[in-house]
Amino acid sequence: MTSYALFLGCTIPARQPHYELAARKALTRLGIQLVDMEGATCCAPPPLQSIDLETSLAIAAYNICLAEEADLNIVTLCTGCFESLTIANRLLKEKPELREKVNKILANAGKEFRGTKEVRHYLQVLMDDIGIDRLKQSIVKPLNNLKVAAFSGCHLLRPSELLRFDDPERPRIFDTLIEALGAKSIPYKNKLRCCGGLLRGYADDVALAIARDKIVNAYNAGADCISTLCPFCFLTLDLGQMLIKATYKEEYNMPIIHYAELLSLSLGVEPKELALDFHKVKIDRVLEKIG
Amino acid sequence: MEKKLKFAFYWAASCGGCEIAVLDINEKILDVVGKADIVFWPVAMDIKYKDVEAMPDKSIDVCFFNGAIRTEENEYMAKLLRQKSKVLVAFGSCACDGCVVGLGNLWSREKIFERVYFETPSTRNPQSVTPQTRVKVARGELELPEFYDTVKTLAQTVDVDYFISGCPPPVPRIIEALDAILNGKLPPKGSSFLLNKSVCDECPREKKDRKITQVKRIYEIEDDFKTCFLDQGVICMGPATRGGCSAQCLKANIPCTGCGGPAPRVTDQGAAMISAFASIAADPKVIEQVVDPVGTFYKYSLANSILRRRVMPK
């Protein structure tokens, strides 16, 4: 059994337990052991990087140190956490001077970054540890050609030089994993473009306009739902539709579903076992189509 | 029967390894004793200064002198043996180039005494005793030879006829030297019994790209037992060191540290190696990685280098 230190981050446990629940159920069913991390903190995402990059690196490194001490690789659910931690891990592994600088800071918290562990997104765990074939064999309830607009979120792919997750212009991994569930990953306009989520709280109007584009493009392409990996994207697109309704007087009713939820459903988890009431846009349409 | 030759062996400032090297010639010693009498050999025979002093000048045919000139006694004996010997051979790295003893030239006499008699962790010297040339004791006055400030080579002290460098000298070269002496086929004065070519010439290791990108200690590499140490980043003195040793260290997978001394056309072994090293160093960073330039490049030849010793800070 493969074990990982589960890095939850801030948003998932605080706002989206349905994501955590679905991910835990799915990964456990697939034989991945998730170890909850003692003392993990915020991953130091872009808002903190905006305040101070060096501090952010140190905080990310602190969390990696916890995994090093536990002798476990990290798995993240949140794309933002994946980005923050992966960038810190890569930079500190590859730039000795930066590492020395950060370790001086970490010494104050009694930690030292050693660079012995990896940070993985749970999609990588599915691809590499479980594998598409085993995943397909585990599917008990295929998603019946559900038309899914895949939206991985920016920080799974970019900056590709450091994340090295997938081809940043022609990513295949997420789509492959969606199709492994029996669904169809449909093309839609500006698929790789940002949801604007990080502008929420500073320029809500801009953020909403960008989110609207996303919804409209998926809608126009005939998607049954948009599948997300990042709690921020989810929030922006799911809650966002309420705001779009209020601001633009438009209603799309586009279900936003975390991939972990789709995965759980296809692995045979009953909808009632999942915390589906956390969805602002109801997903009944999707459940019906899956049957 | 021919008249037997008279040999002398002397041990000045050195570790004594050269004395052992004389025995390393094994059965050859039988040829030696067959053809020569050893008239003076303090390590093996009980003989006093006065016995030597009493010998007629040039009565010793060949004197093998090992050790550098560190003390007044070393100097006295070097001069005395020169006077008494027809042929004086500088035997071993200490006599030829100063060797490790010569590295003492990086410090002054005072510093050395301070270190040796006070600072080393194993020293207990509550009465602050240091060597004195004359000391009164209950039974009279004791005399000690003076410890010189500077270590010299034998040739810097007296006229030397032949040289056999090495730490200790390689056995085949000793045998060649003995054969030459015993058969009266001596080379021109000033010759060395080592070879003209460097250790590299005898080394079996493969030379590869000849570009040093990083200086490494030997424990830092995974030696493949085939590739030249320099190509693996380990400093090897072979290129700048007079050969004749059959590269025996390298055959035992240890880089050459330079005991053969400078090549025949070179006056300064360390500087020659530094020039070569700097020329093939990939970038200036590599140069900074050399921690101890004198200890690395002049381990055996500091006393016989161009500058010979450190200028002591005032």
Binding site: - | E176, G190, K197, I274, V294
Partner: protein
Amino acid sequence: MTARKGSSKKSKGKGKGRKRRGAKVKAMEEAKVGVFLSDCGGQIAKILDFEALTNFVKTVQGVTFVARANEFWRGEGLKIIVDAVKTKKVNRVVVAEAVPKISEVAIAKAVEEAGLNPHLVEVLDLKDHCALPHRDTPKEATEKAKAMLLAAIEKARLLEPIEKTEFPAVKSVLVIGGGIAGMQAAEDLADMGFQVHLIEKEPFLGGLAAKAVRFFPTDDCAICIQSPATDLKTVTQTSRKCVYRSGFSEIPNLNILTNAKVVKVEGGPGNFKVTVERKPRYVDEKKCVACDLCTSVCPVEVPDEYNAKLTKRKAIYINKPLVYPPAYAIDAKVCKFHECAKCVEVCPTKAVNLDQKTEHVTLNVGGIIVATGFREYDPSVIKEYHYGEYPDVITHLELARMLDAFGPTNGVPVRPSDRKPAKRIVFVQCVGSRDRRWNPYCSSICCMISLKHATLIKEAYPDTDVTICYIDIRTTGREHEYYYERAREMGVKFVKGRPSEIIHDPATNTLIVEVEDELLRRLMELEADLVVLAAAMVPSEDTKELAQILGVELDQDGFFKEYNAKLRPTETKRRGIFICGGAVFPKDAPTTSLHAHSAAVKAAKFLMNGKITKDLKVAVVNEDYCGNCQFCPVTCPYGAITLEPKGDGHFVAKVSELICEGCGVCVGTCPVGAIELRHLKPSQISAQMKALLSVNGTSKPLVLAFSCSECGHAAVDSSGMAMMSYPANVRVLRVPCTGVIQVQHILEAFKAGAQGVMVVGCKPDGCHYEVGSQKAQKKVEMAKMLLQAYGIEPERLEMFNLVFIEGDKFAEAAKAMTERVERLGLLQLA
């Protein structure tokens, strides 16, 4: 048993495969030095006390003759030297004379004519190196002049004659690459009477030019060349000719081999043995009448590379319009050979021969010209532009084929997706060029190519909407700016901005180019039927492999690297191998021509005499001491040193006398002193050093400056010429290159009385011997470490990198070094 130090038997040079000229080196005769003191027309006699100098020189051992004159390098002065050599038995000539280098050459020439080896001359410059810079302290200057004279005399006494040698130079040249560069160079050389072999890897000559159709800025047919000399009898010199109407292949001495590539090069400059592999054409060029019957029966169809895959061709094919050779060729990759053999049956002249085999041809040539050109970069790696995915995104070469009236669309630009004429065309500049992700350099010709294509389209189809998205428009050539102007006048639109993405709208089969018009500061979505990418120009395929075979360097971008961009732009570091055209960097046709002619002239100059005569001022290995450490071969900037087996399992270094440039970087490297320069022996350096430091006569601490003969000495010269002043305690010792200097020399200088040591050489990247200055720098750094360990202030040693125009900096450095050493106080050696 061996010598402890120094003396050794001299190794005798072996004259293998070449003739030695001039007198055999005589046994060292006693040196009789003649010293000739020029007071430069009396000018410097006002500063230097020539009486004192003359008297001093007379006391120096070996000096048998002293003369003084206004000048010695010409006229009466020179006659005095000649006379002294002829009648006074003077056999070493020391001349104090200004006019650097000119005087050296003139005196050496006269001395040689007088019967003395010209290398027995030592010229020193008392004017620029002593009198002028020290004019404020004439007494000290005179003392320094004595030291300089003494040093020159000491060196002269140790001078030995140096012979001249001749090396064979085969009057034949191999030109690799049958594009315009290769054809032009080949034609030049053949016209000059050299035997030329022109090889082309494709079955047809013409290269990229043949595909490009027209050239800017004249919109001329791309494939015309100068008239071969064979035609000169009938045609005026200024005419041009179409390649296929030029009679190119009939030029005497020109041997054209298509389907051919170089696989091995042996030998050396002047005498290469080149193995060329010739793949079968399967059609006998001499029999084929190009009737086209074969293609009509050939069943195999493949996309035609020549037409940018816009059309198909058969397995047996010919490129049109016709170029050399006018014969069909079979594409071995797709032909079914004997399974089919329809072409064999149908051929009326029995030209098709499916059993042709790969041949290997060995050519003996004196020089090689590389003219392998460049190619268009495959922009499919730039995924945001979707080349290779959206059929209507094409490159300029593909567009060029469309614009060719013989081409796949007969001159009409169309959308490949549906073959409809393209009415809205967007060009995207800098695709894969100026892009750190792919090729960081500017490909330099794409702006002009876009302008050419835009205007050609506008001219033929004025209602076509053409937009060029650019970062910067670069039209630097003559007339190019007018070309740009014309494009604007014709209505070509220009958007300053680099598109971020090309999107395909399947509903309308329209491409959308997303770009910010920076000048409007507005995001645009340009709709287009056809998007043309100005893809980067990159080195031809197999460039790396060829460079390896030839033993020449490539630059960071993968093009062939020239010896020196300014002075030797068509030469490589490997003598006898020349480069030209797009193989060096992307070029337009005029520049390619220029380059090709230059390479041809360089090759001709190298081989014209059928032999190469050279003074053997080179490095010499003493085999008795060489320990096979193999450092010198890698440090030699010219690859002149190889290791030669001695047969007993041992190796010794061997210097190629032809290739060696005599810089001495190897000497500065050799840890056993086994390599010496014939023209500057270690004994001569020591003698000069001692002499320069033996006469003090100044109140200031002596500083020895080692200076290279190139930039270093030029800076010292110019310092004096420009009347800069610095103290007379600074003494200059000239070496060929600072790379020759060893740490031992620096230590010896201190031992000999120098209080400070300067090393003055070229800039690290501008060393006349490539690497010498850098190596010197590293040695100086290590010597400083060593001095520190010896308890000597490392600041007493410093390297300065100067050039000719920095004479002021040399004076400053000399002053600064003097002050520094004064501040440090007297150097105490233990």
